[in-house]
């Protein structure tokens, strides 16, 4: 278990990794990765009951995480590597031919820690439900976590899954929505307004926890602890995690510009200057 200060240090290093990986690969999705770096760090190091040393595909006795918006691989891979799932140095291979660190998560290349491919949006909640139902069937009381983009909620399958989990009381499932209000073509309000998300989820019989600032480590830890405490009480738990896309670099924040665009080699040092190298670069 890490202290808040330790987690913050890791998240800062993760942000450096994200930017260095994407600029090196000349492709990838830094914006959402930066925004979820605090949550992903908290999950990997403090919230989830899991152990890289004993990773198994069936996850028996371990918490599972499915990141449904697979495009945020930079933050997924960086936090996994920093947690010890694979060597940090392997982050150099992100998106390169022959890599285990595919552009979107893949099981085909054998990267420890990945249980399901994602990338085509809207599918991770269904997978998480399946794993959660499977855990119940096998008497495994560990939890299943999922993460979704807010724009991803426009996919119809999400609402099939939301309806199922509420109606069938899948209460060993905690699903977090990265509520950054941005997507590729503009803000979520411009593209397809999500409306009152909390009320929508509650009307589908979910219990909802709101984390007002998902880039504040204390709030993330407290909010996820609260979500965990609500598991096993008959309803699935949703966490609305308000974040800022591009958080941590002033000129990348509050815009969708860096959703799927990377920093140039010239701009990278300006961004890295705002992020201390806390754990050593890969």
């Amino acid at each position: 278990m890490k202290t808040i200060q330790e987690l913050q240090k890791i998240a800062t290093q993760v942000r450096r990794d994200i930017l260095r990986m994407t600029t090196a690969a000349k492709s990838g999705h830094p914006g959402g990765s930066l925004g979820t770096a605090d949550w992903m760090t908290a999950m990997q190091f403090n919230i989830m009951k899991h152990d890289p040393a004993t990773f198994t595909m069936d996850g028996k006795g371990q918490d599972m995480l499915f990141v449904s918006q697979g495009h945020i691989t930079p933050v997924i891979y960086s936090t996994m590597a920093r947690r010890g799932f694979f060597p940090v140095d392997e982050l150099r291979t992100f998106r390169l031919f022959g890599t285990r660190l595919q552009g979107h998560p893949s099981t085909e290349h054998g990267l420890p820690g990945i249980r399901m491919a994602s990338g085509s949006l809207g599918q991770g909640l269904s997978v998480g439900i399946g794993a959660a139902v499977g855990k119940k069937m096998t008497g495994d009381d560990s939890l299943v976590y999922t993460l979704h983009g807010d724009g991803e909620l426009q996919e119809g399958q999400i609402w099939e899954a939301v309806m199922f989990a509420g109606a069938k009381h899948v209460d060993n499932l905690i699903s977090t929505i990265d509520y950054n209000h941005q997507q590729i073509d503009g803000t979520t309000a411009e593209v397809m307004d999500l409306g009152d998300l909390k009320a929508k989820l509650e009307s589908f019989a979910w219990t909802v926890v709101v984390i007002a600032n998902g880039n504040d480590m204390q709030q993330v830890i407290d909010g996820m602890a609260k979500a965990k405490s609500l598991a096993g009480k008959g309803s699935p738990v949703a966490v609305i995690l308000t974040t800022e896309m591009g958080y941590g670099v002033d000129f990348m924040q509050g815009t969708n510009k860096y959703h799927g665009a990377v920093l140039s080699a010239d701009d990278l040092p300006k961004a890295l200057a705002q992020l201390e190298e806390t754990l050593g670069d890969f």
Partner: protein, 317 residues
């Protein structure tokens, strides 16, 4: 020629239902999912026998595919059942990402495949499903020919580890293969030896192929009939060996010309043994309402149509 008897016309989907219950008895990890068509696809007996191992997903096929993939992670062997169109075409991308690309042990069971579904019409009559499923890497595609074989294929799918598509029909069709005969995935089944022409068939058309062979025999034409119950992995060796022997090929299927059994045969022959060939299949069109009999007859999928194609291909020899 070897004689086959239709013991009693039965539905292939019912054979699947029986096989699923037996698979459930053999393996406690076998689970089933359905999307509000539990009775139609014959999962109801399993659901009654193993209520704790049945997941009713409601009318939400995409979610069902994801749930099945998630269940497979926990060591379960999920069989999801629905109308063939709605568990293949409707959810192609889901199958692609979380079943095939992720290589999960999920069994996709599509009932009501083909035009012999009948009166419901084209929205429900998929003739594209073999094409859609066979192009997916890691997918195994099974098309049993009758009730007994549908049951055996279900049991074989339960033992096989990896994604499987099992194609089943709705209507009562001749049941003529041996009860309890083993089903070997990927192995073509020789039903009748012949020397003049090779007839490769799958699904409901296997019986029609045998009827055609009988009629041809009366004309002095010795037709080899081979049941290709596994479209993928494809038994190219058996197909090529038979084509080499007879020098003429006819393929028969309740599917479109494009992407079905015929194309798999044509590909194998083009690569190894170019041979005159004719297709009995549906040519680039959708189905319509009608009785199963009317559909098969009007769409040219009868023994008489196979006989015509044999005559045509023999002229090209």
């Amino acid at each position: 020629m070897k004689q086959y008897e239709n013991k009693k016309s039965m539905e292939l989907r019912a054979g699947f239902g029986m096989g699923l219950v037996e698979a459930g008895q053999q393996n406690p990890d076998v689970v089933a999912l359905s999307a509000d068509v539990c009775g139609s696809v014959k999962i109801n007996d399993f659901a009654k026998a193993f209520p704790d191992r049945f997941v009713q997903c409601g009318i939400a096929e995409a979610n069902m595919v994801g749930i099945a993939a998630g269940l497979s992670l926990c060591g379960k062997v999920p069989f999801l059942g629905g109308f063939a169109e709605f568990v293949t075409g409707r959810v192609y991308d889901q199958i692609r990402q979380v079943v095939c690309y992720s290589n999960k042990n999920v069994k996709i069971c599509g009932s009501h495949a083909g035009i012999s579904l009948g009166e419901d019409g084209a929205t429900h009559q998929t003739m594209e499903d073999i094409a859609l499923m066979k192009v997916l890497p890691n997918m195994t595609v099974l098309v049993p020919c009758d009730y007994n074989q549908a049951k055996a294929a279900t049991l074989a799918a339960a033992k096989y580890v990896g994604p499987v598509y099992l194609r089943l029909g709705r209507s009562k069709m001749p049941n003529f293969t041996e009860e309890g005969a083993p089903f070997e995935i990927g192995k073509a089944q020789l039903l009748n030896e012949g020397s003049d022409v090779s007839i490769f068939a799958c699904g409901h058309l296997v019986w029609e192929a045998l009827e055609a062979a009988k009629a041809l025999e009366a004309e002095g034409i010795h037709a080899e009939v081979i049941n290709i119950h596994t479209i993928k992995p494809f038994d190219a060796d058996a197909v090529v060996a038979s084509a080499r022997k007879t020098g003429a090929v006819v393929t028969c299927e309740e599917h479109l010309f494009n992407g079905g059994l015929g194309d798999s045969v044509a590909q194998a022959l083009a690569l190894c043994c170019p041979t005159p060939m004719e297709y009995v299949a549906v040519d680039d069109r959708f189905g319509e309402s009608g009785t199963p009999d009317e559909m098969l007859t009007n769409y040219g999928l009868r023994a008489s149509n196979i006989v015509e194609k044999v005559h045509a291909v023999l002229k090209r020899k």
